[in-house]
């Protein structure tokens, strides 16, 4: 009996073998770098033919996933301590670690006149909720707590803190107006050289531990040429331009 299924199978066999000349890679991306990653991935594909697929979460969540065998090949962390820890634990390639961006913390409100470029509103305290990312898992959340500590407001505002599970959820708490203001990454609201919506105070870098964001080649990506290509691309002038456009600093 002849079955009409065969040509279909043949097509599947062909199509699945097609992309083998160009690789794809799974990248674990710290939530603050979501928008830059989405801008970089198509450029990377144009330049190399490889596809970079991102999974976005708080750095601590990504760390836990990697420790439990998640199929990530590269980590773009929001700090440098997580990649270092992964290297110590034998999960990544030590020589591959480099700082791809230095992040900036910003106090942001969706209301246009709420913040005037100073922490005045924070001191005035006429708000019900101040959103931060979960400091246990998100480096930007930790930086936010350090900033409050430095300003002498941590105790005073403790009752009003609400936590997002990642810096993305934190932004969404503020954007939806449920929290009047909160600490997020500058890259989340920075477009074309300025804060694109709402109002903000750019937190001086000396109020918290520097947000040096490190990339790391993970064990699973060791033999994937696309993974190495991505790390090279991330250090190219083309990528640097994109990363700077989102308000990050680059060490050069």
């Amino acid at each position: 009996m002849r079955r009409p299924v065969r040509p279909v199978l043949l097509v599947f066999a062909l199509s699945s073998s097609l992309p083998s000349w160009a690789g794809s890679l799974q990248v674990a991306v710290a939530a603050n770098f979501t928008a830059p990653f989405q801008a970089l991935a198509p450029l990377f594909e144009q330049a190399t033919g490889h596809q970079a697929v991102g999974a976005f979460a708080a750095t601590g969540q990504l760390y836990a996933q990697i420790r439990h065998g998640a199929p990530f090949e590269v980590l773009l962390s929001a700090d440098s301590s997580t990649p270092r820890r992964l290297i110590e634990e034998g999960e990544g390639v030590a020589a591959s670690r480099f700082t791809y961006a230095t992040g900036k913390l910003v106090l942001w409100s969706a209301q246009p006149d709420y913040l005037d470029g100073t922490p005045a509103a924070l001191h005035a305290g006429k708000f019900r909720h101040l959103a931060i990312a979960n400091p246990q898992t998100a480096p930007y959340g930790l930086a936010a707590l350090q900033t409050l500590e430095q300003l002498g407001l941590r105790e005073h505002l403790a009752e009003r803190l609400v936590e997002g599970q990642s810096i993305s959820q934190t932004q969404q708490f503020i954007a939806s107006g449920n929290a009047e203001l909160g600490f997020i990454a500058l890259a989340q609201v920075y477009r074309d050289g300025r804060i694109s919506s709402g109002s903000a105070w750019q937190v001086p870098a000396n109020l918290h531990t520097p947000l040096h964001q490190d990339a790391l080649l993970l064990n699973r990506g060791r033999d994937n040429p696309a993974a190495q290509a991505w790390l090279d691309f991330l250090q190219s002038p083309q990528a640097a331009e994109v990363i700077r456009a989102f308000g990050y600093d680059l060490a050069d």
Partner: protein, 227 residues
């Protein structure tokens, strides 16, 4: 036991949320189930039944998202609560109560509706011929007869609310003592790789939920039937 102060606060909060949600749902769900069991308007009945069952099939993210928008300062519930001087309900225990009640609604309404339908109209009509007022006959005839239905509804609502996670994650804000319930605290511990605490809380939750359901089924079997 390596449990922290926040862990105990979370346990207390979960029990409180589950009890209040169950109480609220018994108050609101009983008339609704009664109406569903006895209304003769077929289409509005179908419509309401489908609406009540929605939380069973919707992902909690859908409810969480709508609640975040509706309860927020620009949503119409948020504007209402603000004009009443209550502020917004997101990141508050009241907000969680609303979310949990929505999620557990079918667990209360459906068993009650089944119980009321099984009783039928005959006992009520008999009571009416004895000049019992409708309210009187509801409390002296229907409630005792529907007791198994009430027990099932209360147990399922309580147990289900204890396990509520998605909606709380989306509108709670992880505030210790206010919105940080056990399910969220377990998630925090797992994310932070604090497995000892996660084990204690998760194990406790497993045992407790199992016992509740065991009690429920034991009670049911002793009566040999649903209602």
């Amino acid at each position: 036991m390596p449990l922290t102060q926040n862990d105990f606060a979370a346990i207390g909060l979960s029990l409180q949320l589950a009890s209040l949600t169950t109480l609220l749902l018994l108050l609101l769900g009983t008339p609704l189930a009664w109406w569903l069991a006895h209304s003769r308007r077929r289409w509005s009945k179908r419509l309401v039944s489908a609406l009540v069952a929605l939380p069973l099939v919707l992902p909690p993210t859908v409810l969480g998202f709508y609640l975040l928008v509706l309860l927020g300062p620009h949503g119409w519930i948020g504007q209402l609560t603000q004009s009443l001087g209550l502020g917004t309900l997101t990141f508050s225990f009241s907000g969680l109560l609303i979310g949990a009640a929505l999620c557990s609604l079918p667990f209360v309404v459906q068993p009650l509706q089944n119980a009321f339908e099984a009783i039928g109209r005959a006992p009520l009509e008999a009571a009416a011929t004895l000049r019992a007022s409708p309210l009187d006959s509801f409390f002296t005839v229907v409630v005792p007869l529907a007791r198994p239905g009430f027990l099932t509804a209360a147990t399922l609502s309580f147990a289900h609310t204890l396990g509520e996670f998605g909606v709380v994650l989306m509108i709670g804000g992880n505030i210790p003592g206010k919105t940080q319930v056990v399910a969220i605290q377990i998630y925090n511990h797992v994310e932070g790789m604090h497995y000892a605490q996660a084990h204690w809380l998760a194990g406790g939750m497993l045992l407790f939920s199992f016992l509740i359901l065991l009690l429920l089924y034991a009670g049911r079997q002793n009566r040999q039937g649903w209602s």
